[in-house]
């Protein structure tokens, strides 16, 4: 019998009431008296030298308040990078300056050159047209291999070349890995591209800067996944505003997918300019602007080699990857192809020797950073593709080959520095075979063939490291911040509760799921509990939402704070009930004295805490409010097995996903309905990457896919009804809820099975096709079939 409240209940998402009735309060809904509007004039060349900017004609235009250029930001900090990677030789990565507005050079199409503030957006845009900007176009660096070649133009002249870092992991293993590959019975090699993506959250980015001269306080309203991180980065590193004079508010946010983690120039600009002109400054990105200013995702070019012994046991994995950083280092960009990618190269398998080499490259393109999965999809894709290719080369069943090499004993220390606490890969694969009806596939293939279609089945596993992250560990790996989280549980006098959390909800359903945990612990109704998030002046210092961390890290902080509440409430109850504290039990919202019928209600205790007329004031303080910070001792390791069945139209190369099944192990689950929804969304994004989405630049660095006419987002008709199961649960051993996180799994786990299925379909018809790069578009499939 499913529960109807508390942990494990599919409580309906309470936030949807306002989202679905148009009553959400998004950043663009915030309008402040006296507000001005800023229009950013952006580079339309990929690389160029700014010879001059003449603002005089524009300044004379109607409604213009002030025009800013890079010169106004001299002496002001640039946008900081939050992670320093150390290369194979012990050297720190190259870290270029990242000015708020371009200084001297523009480095990608979309790089902001000037900002025009006017009384209306239209006036700002008109004045932007009147700016006289003389830019001398320079040769653009676009292709990563060319960028690293001798004589290439340089994105940052002061860095000497375009190599950000050359990272080796685990460097000490390199010799052994090379040896194992040389001596292997079989080596499968695959070269592939992990295509560049644009996140495309439904709500484009918005920033409103406000300044109160009376108390010298700045406020930034912004579309962020982590308001405290923005306050820290912008206040401390860019603008020099102390925390107590800077408030950052991220109200309702319409999707993030990673691209709203980072600190962007527009946020710093609006905060800075509001103070300069002493008026609020508002910026709302158009969709076109989002394409050229939101950090992009993925963009890896990889060669992977998998070595096997004569019995088909994996003996070594070696990879070489070029990772595109774009023109500047976005906030967490260096960590994505390294620590979020190399540490996952063991996958679900007991490969003893692994070596990962990543060269991060600067190019004249939009900066690239974390996008749903961030490094882990890139690891999963190459590993699960090369395993599939190996199975085909060896003539063995791809599922059997995986099963043979599964890690089966936990905890398991991988050769790439992480230790999986729990998992059961056999169980998720068993579950997958059941829900995907693998045994019925051949019959379905025959039915497709009868209809003139080629049917293919692709399977893959995935593992991810979530619950980011143990601060002491990531500090050693180069993170420049801690990655704990925090929660304050404020019990009100009549027993209702406000929980202030560092995590931010922008689609994840925290406002529903988090109260389920507190309700379960206290035995009270979920409706008595409200989650407060997104406002740095209201919430404790937490690090926000990304890396599937909210329930695992912030949820754990909330559990710890609630435990403190329970401890104190029991003390109060023991006074009210004139019993020993040790004998007090809390169940279903009632405090009882064990073994007696003496009890008092939750509300009696909370009222006593705030109206302490009958209260042990000499022993405990009045009030009932507790804060806890929680720093995880390990990552969490969600895992699973996915299966995709496609049909390929042999005449056109069009691929349709006919069935998709996902068997996940997320550990314990708070709200199964929300988890299912998270998996659905992730699968749509993964299938989108595999079949449709591609961010394309031409050789001059012009972005060609900058609208929905050319950037193909998946729609409802492009994805099937999914079979999703998360009944395999091996609870996390190191957080109090035993949860692992589910937000990124779908996007991490799905691309390889789609491509595996397409290759299977083509090979079934006798085509000698071993790989097609994503997106597996009709033209690419058709070309592969007809080559």
């Amino acid at each position: 019998m499913p529960k109807d409240s508390g942990i494990g209940a599919s409580s309906k998402r309470r936030e949807d009431v306002r989202f679905l009735t148009g009553q959400g309060q998004y950043t663009d809904d915030i309008n402040i008296h006296g507000q001005t509007y800023v229009h950013f004039v952006r580079s339309d060349v990929a690389h160029g030298k700014i010879n001059s900017i003449d603002t005089s004609a524009a300044e004379a235009m109607p409604g213009v308040v002030r025009i800013f250029t890079g010169a106004d930001f001299e002496g002001i900090g640039g946008l900081p990078c939050g992670w320093q990677v150390t290369d194979r030789h012990g050297e720190a990565m190259k870290e270029p300056a990242h000015p708020v507005l371009a200084q001297g050079k523009v480095r990608h199409v979309g790089d902001p050159i000037a900002a025009v503030i006017a009384e209306s957006l239209e006036q700002a845009r008109d004045a932007g047209e009147a700016l006289n900007i003389d830019i001398e176009e320079l040769p653009a660096v676009v292709d990563m291999k060319a960028a690293l070649s001798e004589g290439s133009a340089t994105v940052h002249d002061d860095l000497g070349d375009n190599l950000c870092y050359d990272w080796g992991f685990v460097e000490e293993n390199k010799g052994a890995v090379d040896e194992a590959i040389k001596n292997a019975a079989h080596v499968t090699t695959l070269e592939l591209v992990n295509n560049r993506l644009v996140a495309n959250p439904m709500e484009p980015r918005v920033a409103v800067g406000d300044y109160n001269r009376a108390n010298d306080e700045s406020t930034l309203y912004t579309t962020s996944q982590n308001p405290h991180v923005i306050r820290l980065l912008m206040g401390a590193f860019v603008l020099g505003i102390p925390e107590h004079k800077l408030r950052v508010v991220a109200p309702d946010v319409g999707g993030g997918f990673g691209t709203k983690i980072f600190h962007y120039a527009e946020e710093a600009f609006c905060t800075f300019a509001a103070r300069q002109i002493n008026r609020p400054v508002k910026w709302t990105a158009s969709r076109s602007e989002a394409f050229i200013s939101d950090a992009h995702g993925r963009d890896h070019v990889t060669k992977i080699e998998l070595a096997l012994d004569a019995d088909n046991n994996f003996t070594a994995v070696r990879t070489e990857t070029l990772a595109n950083m774009g023109a500047y280092l976005s906030t967490f960009a260096p960590s994505v192809p390294t620590w979020l990618h190399g540490t996952l190269m063991a996958g679900n398998y007991k490969t003893p020797l692994i070596y990962v080499n990543v060269k991060a490259v600067f190019t004249n393109t939009v900066p690239v950073d974390a996008y749903r999965g961030a490094g882990r999809p890139e690891a999963t894709y190459q590993l699960e593709r090369v395993i599939d290719k190996a199975a085909r080369e060896l003539g063995v069943d791809p599922i059997a080959l995986r099963r043979q090499n599964f890690i089966t004993e936990f905890p398991y220390a991988t050769p790439v520095a992480v230790e999986y606490d729990t998992g059961n890969y056999v169980a998720t694969m068993d579950k997958l075979e059941e829900i995907a009806d693998i045994s019925g596939f051949e019959a379905r293939r025959k039915a497709s063939e009868a209809n003139g279609k080629l049917r293919g089945l692709g399977v893959n596993c995935y593992i991810e490291a979530c619950g980011i992250a143990p601060s002491n560990l990531v500090g050693q790996l180069g993170a420049r911040a801690g990655l704990y989280d925090a929660a304050t549980v404020r019990v009100n006098a009549t027993g209702s509760i406000s929980v202030m959390v560092g995590a931010h909800s922008h689609g994840q359903g925290h406002e529903t799921a988090f109260p389920q945990v507190v309700a379960e612990m206290l035995g009270i109704d979920e409706s008595m509990i409200e989650i407060v998030h997104g406002d740095s002046s209201k919430i404790p210092f937490g690090m926000g939402t990304y890396g599937s961390r909210s329930i695992a890290v912030c949820g754990s902080a909330m559990v710890r704070a609630t435990e403190k509440i329970i401890n104190k409430a029991k003390k109060i109850a023991s006074h009210l009930l004139e019993a020993s504290e040790a004998d007090i039990e809390l169940k279903d919202g009632q405090f009882t004295v064990a073994g007696t019928d003496k009890s008092c209600a939750w509300g009696d205790v909370t009222l006593a805490a705030y109206v302490p007329h009958n209260y042990p004031l000499d022993n405990i303080e009045p009030g009932l409010e507790e804060t806890a910070f929680y720093d995880p001792s390990n990552f969490t390791y969600p895992s699973g097995a996915y299966a995709c069945e496609v049909e390929v139209d042999p005449d056109t190369g069009k691929v349709t996903v006919e069935r998709f099944s996902a068997a996940d192990d997320f550990g314990n689950i708070i709200n199964p309905m929300i988890v299912t929804g998270q998996v659905h969304g992730g699968l749509a994004q993964g299938i989108g990457q595999a079949l449709m989405e591609n961010c394309a630049y031409d050789e001059n660095g012009q972005l060609l896919s900058a609208s929905y006419m050319d950037y193909a987002m998946p729609r409802a008709s492009d994805v099937p009804f999914y079979a999703v199961d998360h009944s395999c649960q091996t609870p996390c051993t190191h957080n109090p809820l035993g949860v692992k996180g589910c937000g990124e799994a779908g996007a991490i786990g799905s691309p390889p099975s789609v491509v595996n299925a397409v290759v299977d379909a083509l090979q079934s018809a006798g085509h000698n096709v071993t790989h097609i790069d994503m997106p597996v578009s009709p033209s690419r499939v058709w070309a592969a079939m007809n080559s």
Binding site: V45, G128, S288, A706, D710
Partner: protein, 170 residues
């Protein structure tokens, strides 16, 4: 993108050459040209209104002539800035050769766009550039020799005067 084509013009080589150097003719032939001023030596300033797919803009820019081999070949280069619409650049290497019935004008065109034009119009830019080039050289032929159909349709009648002819008769 690159494209090449040629047109036979019923006029002698010198006449065609003179037309290539004329601001008046260029204005008449550049599709969407609203203004054109300048000289072959100094270069021309042009204002062109064009719609590329979803983007309509007024391009202001310069047209220059280079690699001039008197009477034989030259390169026409243009760069137009369309403000928020981005920019377009193009060049045409033009070679004139004597041919039975007039002068053969051969051209190699390359075109490049940037900014919003590339972001929104890249799918159609090749077709657009080809259309522009075809239109330009078609208009150019008409300007030099008079419209083709009238030439063909007036076997017995008076041949419509081309550009140089009109200048002379004026």
């Amino acid at each position: 993108m690159n494209l090449s084509d040629s047109k036979l013009i019923a006029a002698d080589r010198n006449e065609v050459w003179q037309a290539l150097l004329s601001a008046e003719v260029l204005q008449q032939c550049v599709p969407g040209c609203k203004e054109m001023s300048g000289s072959p030596e100094e270069g021309f300033e042009a204002t062109v209104v064009q719609k590329v797919g979803p983007v309509k803009a007024t391009f202001k820019g310069a047209v220059t002539l280079s690699d001039i081999v008197e009477g034989e070949s030259l390169t026409l280069s243009g760069e137009g800035k369309g403000g928020a619409a981005g920019f377009a650049k193009g060049g045409a290497k033009v070679v004139l050769t004597d041919e039975e019935g007039g002068t053969l004008l051969s051209y190699d065109v390359e075109a490049k766009v940037g900014g919003k034009l590339a972001q929104l119009g890249s799918r159609i830019i090749d077709g657009f550039a080809k259309k522009m080039a075809d239109q330009f050289f078609e208009e150019f032929r008409n300007a030099v020799q008079g419209p083709l159909e009238e030439v063909e349709g007036s076997e017995e009648g008076e041949k419509k005067k081309g550009w140089l002819g009109r200048l002379v008769s004026n």
